[in-house]
């Protein structure tokens, strides 16, 4: 073997931790078909080390051995590998821009399909459903909410969020141009707020992986926020390719506040529509 032909231009040799991390992701892919191999390493490493501490295991290799034989443990690890951190109307400026600059164009369609990719525990889905209802569009909109984590999808389906979060969400909702009182949308009981189930009557929650699955519908709007940052460039390109393929002519793509397509191979295939809010439009 030619030792000068390193597979990657590495600054310094891989640490044991990084080798174990790669092997773990390979094992998970081979055993469970969940593909985390093209996630960015820095964040993935932190999450796996956090999982080790929580599960009381001495090394990533020990975790790998257990995960291979125990699907239940894998289910628990999945909770750590995916980032179930979201909030309703997160970055209110994004929702305000959707309301002002995207909704008027959505009104021109007889029926609308929206894809919330990487929906996690559903905060974003309910936010969009509320916005679309206030704009008179929800009744003719089909929302697809997808994620790779079945536990997150189940939580999303239930639409129950901790009551202590509601105050922050209410502020976000108001800054996002909310037209009503936020409390109209949920019933508070004990330490939880249960959102009106009618909001997601036309939401299809589905298991979908941006790393391995393909496009399933033609959409007018794809909202995928703070998901691509966990992907390396190759996987970002794959996901953007799916969005591009799914979007109709001049369809909209919304990303997270600090995400952009500038460093992807799709930078020429979307136009900036509402720039600071990261709303793009499929280029002609």
């Amino acid at each position: 073997m030619n030792r000068n032909a390193a597979p990657l231009p590495l600054a310094c040799p891989l640490s044991n931790t990084e080798i174990e991390l790669r092997l773990l992701m390979e094992a998970i892919y081979l055993r469970y078909s969940y593909d985390f191999r093209n996630y960015t390493v820095a964040s993935q490493k932190r999450r796996v080390l956090h999982a080790l501490a929580q599960l009381g295991l001495p090394s990533i290799s020990a975790l790998q051995e257990k995960v291979l034989r125990d699907p239940l443990l894998f289910g628990r690890l999945l909770e750590y590998l995916t980032i179930p951190v979201s909030e309703m109307f997160r970055d209110p400026a994004y929702f305000l821009a959707l309301r002002r600059h995207v909704v008027p164009i959505l009104h021109t369609y007889a029926s609308i399909k929206v894809w919330v990719a990487g929906c996690s525990t559903g905060e974003e889905v309910f936010s969009l459903a509320i916005l679309l209802r206030e704009e008179g569009l929800l009744s003719r909109t089909q929302i697809y909410a997808t994620d790779i984590n079945p536990a997150s999808l189940e939580k999303a389906r239930q639409g129950i969020f901790p009551i202590e979060s509601i105050r922050g969400y209410t502020g976000n909702y108001q800054r996002a141009g909310g037209r009503s009182s936020f409390s109209d949308y949920y019933t508070a009981a004990y330490d939880a707020a249960r959102f009106d189930p009618a909001l997601c009557a036309d939401v299809i929650f589905a298991d979908h992986s941006l790393a391995t699955d393909s496009v399933f519908a033609e959409t007018q709007l794809v909202s995928c926020r703070n998901v691509l940052i966990y992907f390396n460039r190759e996987l970002q390109d794959r996901a953007l390719g799916l969005f591009h393929e799914s979007l109709c002519h001049r369809g909209f793509l919304g990303l997270g506040a600090k995400e952009s397509i500038d460093f992807s191979s799709y930078s020429e295939r979307f136009d900036a529509h509402s720039q600071p809010e990261r709303i793009y439009r499929k280029a002609t």
Partner: protein, 201 residues
């Protein structure tokens, strides 16, 4: 001093990471003000700011410094001679391919962005070819990160707590390991210039 010494300013590094909190803007200005071009080392900074507000750090520093200043964006490569600030509300990491990545993981030591996160990831990416500077601040973020740089063979430098506006952060780092340099701001600046000239050679 032998050139191979850990402390030797003649050692080559390929990037600098800086952490600062309360009082950090002023300290950073002293560190970087009037640095003569051509400057070649990339410098990545986590400066704690309240979440939920747009950061104007990049604009503020761009007006005052003679180097390109950016808010670090996801997958942006670190370019020579540029200064980068972590965006508010996101952790900033450096990947092995020497590009930035962002993440929304929960705050670390109540901070997002976290100095520990930037420093630990940069230590993985650069190994011994990294120098970490930790300046004034009122918490213990950065102590763990600086230790990780040290363990990876990089150079660690801490603002002298006697001189720091808020000494807690440098003190926490000094309690965690023995930094290679504990210096007042003016001398930290001299160290930075030495690292740059060694890099440019």
């Amino acid at each position: 001093m032998k050139p191979n010494d850990r402390q030797s300013p003649g050692r080559r590094v390929e990037a600098i990471v800086v952490g600062a909190s309360a009082g950090g803007i002023e300290a950073l200005m002293v560190l970087l003000h009037g640095i003569p071009p051509p400057w070649r080392l990339p410098v990545a900074v986590v400066l704690h700011l309240p979440e939920g507000h747009e950061s104007h750090l990049a604009e503020i520093f761009a007006e005052r410094l003679r180097m390109p200043v950016h808010e670090a964006a996801d997958k942006m490569p670190l370019a020579p001679g540029s200064l980068y600030f972590a965006p508010p509300g996101y952790h900033l990491s450096i990947e092995r391919d020497r590009c930035f990545s962002l993440s929304c993981e929960p705050p670390v030591r109540f901070s997002r962005p976290s100095i520990d996160v930037l420093m630990a990831s940069a230590a993985d990416a650069y190994g011994p070819a990294l120098a970490g500077f930790l300046l004034t601040g009122a918490n213990d973020d950065g102590a763990e990160g600086l230790l990780r740089i040290h363990l990876a063979g990089g150079i660690t430098a801490v603002q002298d707590p006697k001189e720091a506006r808020i000494p807690t952060m440098p003190q926490a780092a000094i309690a965690r390991h023995s930094p290679d340099h504990v210096l007042p701001m003016r001398e930290l600046r001299a160290l930075l210039l030495q690292l740059e000239s060694a890099h440019a050679d």
